[in-house]
Symmetry: C3
Subunit: 678 residues, 3 copies
């Protein structure tokens, strides 16, 4: 991408009146230079089986092109027409709750051959009609694809076939590895496989979810191949991934593996929605961006993010601008809003766009225009920013599934879907974020691990032996790792290791535990860490660690009438590196004290900035090789920063600064410092 | 009705022992002069298909008549016999949850031709056997009829046919008006209509619910026609409507339109259940009575209200008496208790009647007897009381449905069933009630609107253009309207208007908004209203109003770092009248201050009484043209009132009072002042 | 049983590695002398239809026997193989939620003839292979059997047949007794019976649940007969009953009648799980033990109890030991742990065994070893302990069902499943427990009632007339009864009595009520009881009692503006005994004051010990006729006790004590005093 993209999702199909030219006029005025169209509008372009008419799409392409607005074409496959569901009821997915009914998007079965045949036909027809058009710069295949709980008979049959391959046809091995003797669940003939949606066996259930995730990867790869047949050389293929949804975006998903699914794409796209107003912190923007950027080690597209959205997301003045630069500073090549106009019907009526329902300019649009002009002006300096993080956060879909079965908060029996895995990821990530330690996010088996100085591994629960041995080697070779409780506990089949815990990584720690308890009135005591007394309590989970090596340092102990002889946090040099283990769930203040002490001890080269949240600094290098520092003030109070770099120029104000100067950031303010190379 | 009716629902069928004569003896002693019978007892009188035996009903009629107790016959159609469900399973309604199972009442499909055939047969047989009997004064058709979620294939087919009529067969128009292009939901062949119960399109979903409501109106009209073939000239036809149920009665229902459904009746009947003991305020009695009275502009029947009911509803001494006169003062022609005796089996065992399970007199029965004797004595003065309210509250079934789809509290996505519409109706109504402003309750399209000085319009959300234009004309002609936030937003199809909000009514206000937000730490500031600081907070919803006319008065602004430039409450003279708009959800204290100021400004002729809750005054005019004031003390403390009228006589004590006298109301006390005409 | 059994559930089938001999070595070292095996492992021993191979079981028997560890064989029928569900889908139970899916245990239909045929076949095969083995001391038939909501067509057909018998074919009588006229639910042909799972008639619903409970009794009797064909003379038959599950064991179950179901057994077995750590009180151990012991008036087996279990149940040091002796002191002949090793797969992975997943000794195992050695040493004195309680608590499955339909907390309409019955049982039981009043627990129709001095009858709600008359006679004959509110209200068909309440027992009380209310700001006032002001509030339920006899003492009145003329707690001498009635829900402090005063008034011969919780004393008599007192300190603080007996020997320390000595109990400590006969 030569220049920064500033875009909107545009649905001419949903507009209550004809106003394409007026819309384009307002877009141009606001610096919008790209629109995403056509995704989710299948029924508009194939109104009856086999009757295609893309003239309305072509009209949009014409008018956009005439106004220098580029277009990303979305394949419209994530919402099917009513006639298709009526004609072929089998395209609706069968889920544990039964057969889906038509109405909501994403209710079809992405493995249905009939669905795939119809989807292929409209993709081919759409691309045949549009791919040659000079407005088109790329394609988004499908949208926010997941497996939508599909578990019908053919899915289960294919999964059993998959297991047969995986275990070389050896049922005895499968029974043993998954522990199927339990509750008489063993399987002694492949044709006796019981329903997967009702299994109580976490190993089998997790294998099934892993398989379901692979359906998403396969589906996207299939669409990418289809699109490749049509796209021109300079057109890209992307997808719009979403993250765990807790009324905003954060965390890994059990329903899609962002890393493997990205491999079929040219560039990763994501949607990022986040709290706003007094709750805006930028953490979701950073986290989701860190995953997106790491998937392909390059800039990514924010295909959707909010403008006004809901009543609780209408931004304070300044926030829309701050959000845009926050994405850019994380490595985004595009900031795209969902969506241009607010919907006048249906169910997302209150998920507002840049224009309110009145379709006139408004204060939020006005701020977007300010952003658009700034991006256009600064694009030469800000397009193609790179990051060189030396700290990485490890995430794991398998561990997420495992923790859903075996949560660390509350009751530990049966399958939960609360994603407590992401709760802890969030706790660790937020602590890093508030300390201005920027990270890449990757999986434990990523070959790029050796790039990093420090790995942060919360809940590394369900991991193969080999992976843990590689981590041990990483430490031996001089790397540093910080583990949370429950790490190393089970293998990739969720089989708990039958050895002292934390298994395998124990050797790098010189400590182990046999018992774990739920803390009640337990606090941490440390002679080493600086733990604020008010934040010393331990909650939900604690392991009773015993030190086994003279080299192991106890960084914190439990304070409790019975558990006070056990260690809570341990640290040990192993080979040329160190391993640190936090055996309990602590406050984020404790995490911060661990990280602070750890940086000091290991002399982390990418030493974090002394600034702390609400002041956030993001460090990038632009194409010209200049370091660009983005400063953000995530608060309603102005903030002063004493600058520590030699000399730089603030790009938005075009003012020069040097060491010792004070930079004043307005409430919800941004500054972009282009440092002068020495 | 010549005299006040004092009644009970009587189920001889449910009695564990034969005691008809003993029951009648106790009824007579208590002044009971009417019983409602036979509703919900189908299986007792048609024990096998086609075998009718109403001799037991006739026995009751005989004995009642012999003791001067009149009888209202209920058609027994709202609970079907087990044999009918067994023989014709299709009579059970199909709902979004599947096909209903037999057991609970109201589980059949009121549109099933088989159900209707059987229902017609027993109605005809029952009426042929009883209509001529001199004890019978009227008929209650069915009971608390709703559509019971019926949405089977034939209902959906009929609805599609209904839509075809409504849109003149023009699918393109339907797609456009409902915005069906969204998420590929458009329909290009009538036979492709998708299931309605799973639609995500609020416009389509609301049209379906509106259609389902019409099924109730049609069903009651059908029963009324049937009964008309048999009833004698002086026998009335009524129905027992219920209100939204939140463990008591309050609010409009999505499942029935009280106004249209009443048109087939001679007199409207209702059931009203309400909190009791320390929670008794009389507000539910007043609200439900106000709807019932307004439906036909005349007295109504309270066919059911509580005696002891549940443990939390056993009345304090005095409350039963107070409740009875509260109904009368709202215009009730009958106070009927549900029910005579407490049930010894089944599931409403703890919904007690006037007699406890021991079937003996008890303290509540004793108080009912006191009421019965007073009603008999005062009937000549209290029968046929009229009200002349000049204030009306506007309600709207369509807005209720719309707010279910697009709530103003909490998350705004997808369909909710929390009826937040009624939450706000309640907030506005309670404020009026506590200020002793009596209202009629009607719909926005009611031709009687011009009668009123002041209209109160909370959440007038989904209303046709014409209706809003009529309201503007009402103001221009000298009327006054008070709107809440979200009024005027969408048309009758729930399509949001694509113009500045509040649409159409904006011209009477000289103010509009483009943005709305969820308040966080926002309070109201006013130089005009008297807002108690502790009640100044805004919650859930606020619109950022901008004034567009020099004539517009800002009655309150927001206090907030970013939103303080916007208005919260505006008021403007328009033509000869005024319009007031409250752009946010406020405390009831703020509503009270708005209403107080508004009365003062518009010099409301029916100026409210200076008394405030817990003292409630209800104003009526009796047949002789005398003003009758009912005073109620809804508290456990005695209260003194200094009287402001010239001269009057208190009917219960038969004492005379004049201006300046002090009337002392006992705890939970009542006084009825017959004013002397000057 | 000659000696105390100390056991574990042992699943060699679930073990991730072969280590039978190592397991046995560790068991022996810990004093484990019995294992329970084979229950829930059907698929391991019949891997394909009809292919049996018990060689692995025999290996376990061999090795155990060689090491003097006895074996209890469990029939494996409560978890069926996948192939059986696949081959015969009809073995899965149909419940109100539909047909069960395979996966979880206890999802089959215990009345399915196909299931029963397969279950019989594997039982016969297993017993034929193992019954002769000298290691086998007994059999556990099935496990935690309930009816699992089975309500398919054949179950309903059989139930109707059962009703036909019960009512002698008289439908009119059934309609009358169950009150089926209500809501048109009457039945006039046996073939018209509607579905039971959707009935709204509490009487019919309760009859169905009673019938479903009888299926459990029948099923266990059938298994016992089968096993009897094989077992040797000295082998016992037991079953593992469980109690109501609220994440621990407490209370009667609606799904099984412990008393009738025990009749087919030689010895009653139970599982008892309870809170731990700071929440350990021993009350669950005592309650469940009291039921188990009473079922057959003899020692019972604790077949399952926890070791480390969940994070919140990992015991503090000392607690495992304390728990073991607490079981023994209640009359347990066996303390069996669930289970030996922690599971490495499936869903109970975090329900840990004596060994953690590492399969090595750990602190909890070490404490178990200490217990095992002590039990072995003390077995001659502690095997076969008897209790001679003179106080009994009455429980009733029918009343539990009835209270589910008609709860005393919250809303009283429709069927609940909150088991508020057990809430009140718990409140009464805990009060007794904390006062060290030991009880037996039995049903109202038990012929052993006359043994007792004092009966405690909370919520004796649904009881036949005869039973209440027998209780009246018990009082007349010199017994004492304490009733709670709602007692006597309905008959065994849940038909409320149509007479003054409390019906029938009213004559022993000289008091009655007609009204009941939900208390709001109501406290108790008493001149007789010592009620702490802070605990005087009444909640949820209060009956307005009126005294009818000069002999009736009012022990407490209500304090309230309107209800203060009514009595709350009454007491009366009747014949040679007394009856006491608590007409409201009180704090446990009030219950304690009632019990204290009552003991004083009736001069209870088994006067409670003056010690109070956290000090618990359990009194037993051993085979030699010696009184053995067990002292427990359920707290984290050491406690001193001044001893009141003449002379005794503490068995664990082998120290002698005499009157006036101080016994110091460590935190979570135990002492066992063998008193010297005088």
């Amino acid at each position: 991408m030569d220049k920064l993209l500033y875009g909107v999702a545009y649905y001419r199909e949903y507009m209550p009146v004809e106003r394409l030219d007026e819309d384009i006029r307002l877009m141009k005025a606001a610096g919008i230079n790209v629109v995403r169209i056509a995704e989710s509008t299948w029924s508009s372009y194939e109104r009856r089986d086999g009757e295609f008419d893309f003239s309305a799409v072509l009209t949009v392409l014409e008018h956009m092109h005439a106004n220098q607005i580029a277009v990303i074409i979305g394949t419209p496959t994530y919402a099917i027409p009513a006639w298709l569901a009526k004609k072929h009821p089998s395209v609706m997915a069968t889920t544990p709750q039964g057969v889906n009914k038509y109405g909501h998007r994403q209710k079809m079965d992405i493995t249905s051959p009939i669905y795939l045949r119809y989807a292929e036909r409209i993709i081919r027809a759409l691309l045949a009609a549009t791919a040659h058009h000079p407005a088109v710069i790329g394609y988004q295949i499908d949208n926010e694809t997941k497996y939508y709980d599909t578990c019908g008979a053919h899915v289960q049959r294919d999964f059993v076939e998959h297991l047969k391959q995986r275990f070389g046809g050896d049922l005895e091995k499968l029974n043993a590895e998954y522990g199927l003797n339990y509750w008489s669940n063993r399987i002694d003939a492949w044709e006796d496989f019981p329903p997967l949606e009702s299994t109580i066996n976490a190993s089998l259930g997790a294998a099934f979810q892993q398989y379901q995730r692979s359906l998403v990867t396969d589906f996207l790869a299939w669409q990418a191949r289809l699109v490749s047949e049509y796209r021109l050389a300079d057109q890209f293929i992307t997808h719009n991934f979403d993250f765990e949804w807790r009324t905003w975006s954060f965390g890994v998903r059990g329903e899609v593996d962002h890393f493997s699914a990205s491999s079929a794409l040219d560039i990763t796209g994501v949607d990022i929605y986040h709290p706003s107003q007094h709750q805006l912190t930028g953490a979701e923007i950073a986290f989701c961006g860190d995953i997106a950027r790491t998937t392909k080690d390059k800039n990514y597209l924010v295909l959707e993010t909010q403008t006004q959205a809901f009543k609780n997301w209408t931004p304070y003045p300044g926030q829309l601008r701050q959000q845009a630069f926050s994405h850019i500073a994380s490595g985004a090549a595009m900031v795209g809003y969902w969506h241009w106009h607010s919907l006048h019907n249906a169910c997302e009526t209150y998920w507002k766009g840049l224009l309110s329902h009145d379709l006139e300019p408004n204060p939020v649009y006005d701020e977007a225009r300010e952003v658009g002009l700034a991006l256009a002006r600064l694009s030469p300096q800000l397009a193609g920013l790179k990051k060189q993080n030396r700290v990485a956060l490890l995430v794991s879909n398998d561990s997420l599934t495992a923790v859903d079965w075996h949560p660390w908060q509350g009751h530990q029996f049966g399958r939960h879907k609360e994603h407590q895995y992401n709760d802890l990821i969030r706790s660790y990530y937020d602590t890093l974020y508030r300390q201005n330690i920027e990270v890449d996010i990757l999986t434990v088996d990523d070959p790029r691990l050796s790039r990093y100085e420090l790995l942060i591994a919360p809940l590394l629960y369900a991991v193969a032996d080999d992976s843990l041995h590689r981590l041990n080697q990483f430490v031996a070779d001089g790397g540093h790792i910080l583990y949370s409780f429950k790490s190393g506990f089970a293998n990739e089949h969720l089989k708990v290791r039958h050895e002292r815990q934390p298994a395998i990584i124990r050797e790098t720690l010189g400590a182990s535990y046999q018992l774990f308890v739920e803390p009640h009135d337990v606090t941490l005591h440390s002679d080493i860490l600086d733990i604020p007394p008010a934040s010393a309590a331990v909650s939900h989970w604690m392991e009773l660690l015993e030190v086994e090596s003279a080299d192991t340092e106890i960084w914190a102990r439990y304070q409790h009438p019975y558990w006070n002889k056990y260690a809570a946090i341990v640290h040990k040099r192993h080979g040329s590196g160190t391993a640190t283990y936090i055996g309990c769930h602590t406050s984020e203040a404790v995490l911060e004290s661990v990280l602070t002490h750890l940086q000091h001890r290991i002399e982390l080269r990418t030493g974090a900035d002394p600034l702390r949240f609400p002041l956030i600094v993001k460090r990038t290098i632009n194409r010209a090789g200049n370091t660009m520092l983005f400063y953000f003030n995530y608060s309603s109070e102005p903030q002063d920063i004493t600058l520590t770099f030699s000399r730089g120029r603030e790009l938005l104000s075009d003012r020069r600064y040097q060491q010792g100067n004070t930079l004043t950031l307005a409430d919800w303010g941004v500054a972009i410092m282009a440092l002068e190379n020495l």
